[in-house]
């Protein structure tokens, strides 16, 4: 029954994993909207900058990014706490993927909606906030749900920059007890459970967005 003795430590790690994941989802979501909207609505310079950000963070591996910010950047005099580095890099990484979701959903809003908004003398900001974004938001939610799970899974990589998350705790216990089977089974189950909870939360959020959308019918078209 020594598996019970692993639980407090693994639980503390799970709490760190959950906090980092939620923080990265929130920050990454913000980055996704900024970059996604910039790609569609920004002028040429802003859109190009957003494109560079997206390609840079989608095109290089997350672990390379983490190590780059953790090991390489301090050499030129810029350094943060490991937790800050972990959250920010994870957020920028998933934000780049998210910006593609935002861009795609905004681009999929029917052209007539833009024309109607112009006919009603809506400004660009008004059109975005009141017409296109509410419709696009509904379209984005399923993809954002998948991205949230992806964020949780990728958060395990922060253990490699010495953050004591669930994976890190599992490694420490294993190195101490050599009880690999129990420790890693518990860890996998822990991540699976957190995924299920996160999935439930994202479904809930999706339903809220759907109900709040100005045009519920557009969601199904």
């Amino acid at each position: 029954m020594e598996w019970i003795s692993y639980l407090p430590s693994l639980g503390r790690g799970a709490l760190v994993t959950a906090s980092i994941t939620l923080a990265a989802i929130a920050l990454g979501g913000a980055a996704a909207f900024v970059a996604g909207i910039a790609r569609v609505e920004g002028g040429r310079i802003v859109a190009t900058l957003a494109l560079c950000y997206t390609e840079l963070f989608r095109g290089t591996s997350l672990l390379v990014q983490l190590f780059w910010f953790y090991y390489a950047l301090p050499l030129v005099g810029i350094s943060f706490e490991p937790v800050t580095t972990g959250i920010v890099v994870l957020a920028l990484h998933v934000g780049a993927y998210g910006s593609e979701i935002v861009r795609g959903a905004l681009a999929s809003v029917a052209q007539q909606q833009h024309e109607a908004a112009r006919a009603l003398n809506f400004g660009r900001m008004q059109t975005l906030l009141h017409i296109t974004l509410p419709q696009a938001l509904v379209e984005m939610m399923p993809a954002f749900g998948n991205l949230a799970i992806e964020t949780l899974k990728l958060s395990s990589l922060v253990s490699l920059i010495s953050i004591a998350d669930l994976t890190f705790r599992a490694q420490s216990i294993r190195n101490l007890t050599l009880d690999s089977t129990t420790v890693y089974t518990l860890t996998l189950l822990g991540y699976f459970l957190m995924s299920l909870v996160l999935m439930g939360l994202m479904r809930l959020l999706e339903r809220l967005v759907r109900r709040g959308a100005a045009f519920p019918r557009a969601a199904h078209s």
Partner: protein, 229 residues
């Protein structure tokens, strides 16, 4: 390292002197992705077919396994295979363990792609096959698989690129792929900036080339009369 000396006089000479080492790592990265993706392609098809089994228990169990593989981190699955299997007498080379871990994780994704492809085969074809008295094996081998393979190419290609970018994780089980080597060089020279940046740039170039190829495929296939997923 590997018979190459590094020259840290200036960043440029440093980069030039470690390029051969990084390129050796690149071949390991590419091999790992190729091996992992081969496993994912086969295993994903097996999962997709098992999920359609008429025996409810098999279909249900497969769904749970696939969901579990999809919802848990590659890193932990990798540790599981690397540390747990030897406890049961199965000691595999690190490279093989890494390829299996990549393959397992991505088989969850590829099975989903196969499933979508199979479901897109029109009902009429299944009925025609039944009318012709073909066995289920015949239907899958001669009718379903040949039709869906070209259609699912772009979706599969996306996952191949995604897998390529996850190969640095294999460095934690001592596989010296590109990033593992870059890190090692960094440890010895105390300069991580140049090697890690080089790895980032190489990944960026690889993914840009691959996306361009996929983009082309996505336009070329419909022109050849093959509908995409």
């Amino acid at each position: 390292m590997y018979g190459f000396e590094w020259d840290t006089a200036t960043p440029l000479t440093y980069a030039w002197s470690i390029l051969p080492i990084i390129l050796i790592g690149l071949t390991v990265t590419l091999k790992a992705a190729a091996a992992g993706f081969s496993i994912a392609l086969v295993l994903g098809l097996v999962f997709a077919l098992l999920r359609r089994s008429r025996v409810k228990a098999i279909a249900w169990t497969t769904s749970v396994v696939v969901e579990f593989l999809r919802d848990t981190p590659l890193l932990v699955q990798l540790f599981f295979l690397y540390y747990v299997l030897p406890d049961y007498g199965l000691t595999l080379p690190a490279f093989l363990t890494g390829a299996i871990a990549l393959g397992l994780q991505y088989s969850a994704y590829t099975s989903e792609v196969y499933r979508g492809g199979i479901e897109a085969v029109p009902r009429g074809q299944w009925e025609a096959a039944t009318a012709l008295n073909l066995s289920r094996t015949d239907v899958y081998r001669d009718i379903v698989v040949p039709q869906i393979v070209p259609r699912i190419l772009p979706a599969m290609g996306n996952y191949l690129v995604a897998m390529l970018k996850e190969t640095p994780v294999l460095s934690v089980i001592t596989i010296l792929e590109m990033m593992g080597l870059a890190n090692m060089i960094g440890e010895r020279t105390f300069d991580y900036l140049v090697p890690l940046t080089m790895v980032g740039v190489i990944f960026l170039l690889l993914t840009l080339v691959c996306s361009a190829g996929l983009h082309w495929l996505q336009r070329a296939l419909p022109k050849a009369g093959i509908p995409l997923q």
